[in-house]
């Protein structure tokens, strides 16, 4: 029986830029950041309240894909094709204002929905995420 998720992957256009975005703008912690002997960099981050879930910042340009596939995927990521995850926060207006002050681009301002208050932001590559404040139980 599956017990929990430990790693989930987000494809990014550039790992150095993604590091800056996730660590300095979102306030995530770098969990593992090691160069591999064969080349490549293993970079994972975690949300402040969830240190045991590692988000793998995986470069789209890697040994797994052909040049054509890299070009296709890069284009799709930039266009905002991929919605990756929902992040929650205690106070969406404070979090929204702070992220905006740090230069994070939102495509939807906090809006009350059935399940809570939600905003949508993009990472530096073009992946989009929901930022949500869920009703207190």
């Amino acid at each position: 029986m599956i017990s929990k998720m430990t790693h989930s992957s987000v494809m990014v256009l550039d790992q150095a830029s993604a590091y800056d975005f996730y660590v300095n703008k979102l306030g995530f912690k770098a969990v593992v950041d090691v160069p591999m002997p064969q080349g490549g960099r293993w970079l994972t981050v975690s949300a402040p309240g969830q240190p045991d879930v590692e988000i793998v910042l995986s470069p789209v340009n890697n040994s797994m894909y052909s040049a054509e596939k890299v070009a296709l995927l890069s284009g799709m990521i930039k266009e905002g094709t991929f919605g990756v995850a929902v992040f929650t926060c205690d106070d969406i207006y404070a979090t929204y204002e702070e992220m905006k002050a740090k230069g994070v681009v939102f495509t939807k301002a906090p809006t009350k929905e059935f399940y809570g208050t939600e905003a949508i932001f993009k990472d530096d590559s073009g992946n989009w995420f929901s930022l949500a404040q869920l009703p207190r139980p």
Binding site: T6, H7, S9, V32, V34, P35, M36, P37, Q38, G40, W42, V56, N62, S63, M64, D90, D91, Y93, A94, E97, E98, A101, F106, T107, K108, A109, P110
Partner: protein
């Protein structure tokens, strides 16, 4: 995107500016009264709003940020006393006490732990990469 307004927007903006001021100036001798003034709040109102939003009083939040930054510096290999003064503490004693209270171990124990972890990552990086990812990237072969 149209920047629609919401109730208390200006209040939130002032509060966030105060929080970011602490984030950016934690290493200095911050006068929290001054921050309340600059954000145009009475001290009492400011502390209450800050605590409602961030679950810590401004002072508790400042201490929290300093400890977090000290952990980063210790993780990067800085000595305990260098890290203590670099994040704005004036006494090694109060730094160590607060650090231990927050993290459950002393700054020097944390430094040792982080350095050991760093050495391990440098020595056997693949121990930190799930096998499936490592294999798909050609870092290990079956």
């Amino acid at each position: 995107m149209e920047d629609n307004t919401y109730p208390k927007m200006y209040l939130y903006r002032r509060l966030v500016q105060a929080k970011l001021f602490i984030d950016n100036h934690y290493a200095e001798a911050i006068d929290l009264d001054l921050i309340a003034d600059e954000a145009s709040f009475s001290k009492f109102h400011f502390i209450k709003l800050f605590k409602n939003t961030y679950r810590r009083t401004p002072h508790q939040y400042l201490m929290f940020v300093r400890i977090q930054k000290a952990m980063e510096l210790l993780g990067a290999g800085m000595t305990v006393s260098e890290a203590c003064y670099a994040v704005g503490f004036e006494s090694l004693g109060s730094f160590s006490l607060l650090f231990k209270r927050a993290q459950g171990l002393t700054p020097s124990a944390y430094l040792d732990q982080q350095q050991a972890l760093k050495a391990e990552k440098a020595k056997v990086p693949l121990r930190f990469v799930p096998g499936c990812f490592a294999e798909s990237r050609g870092w290990i072969t079956k």
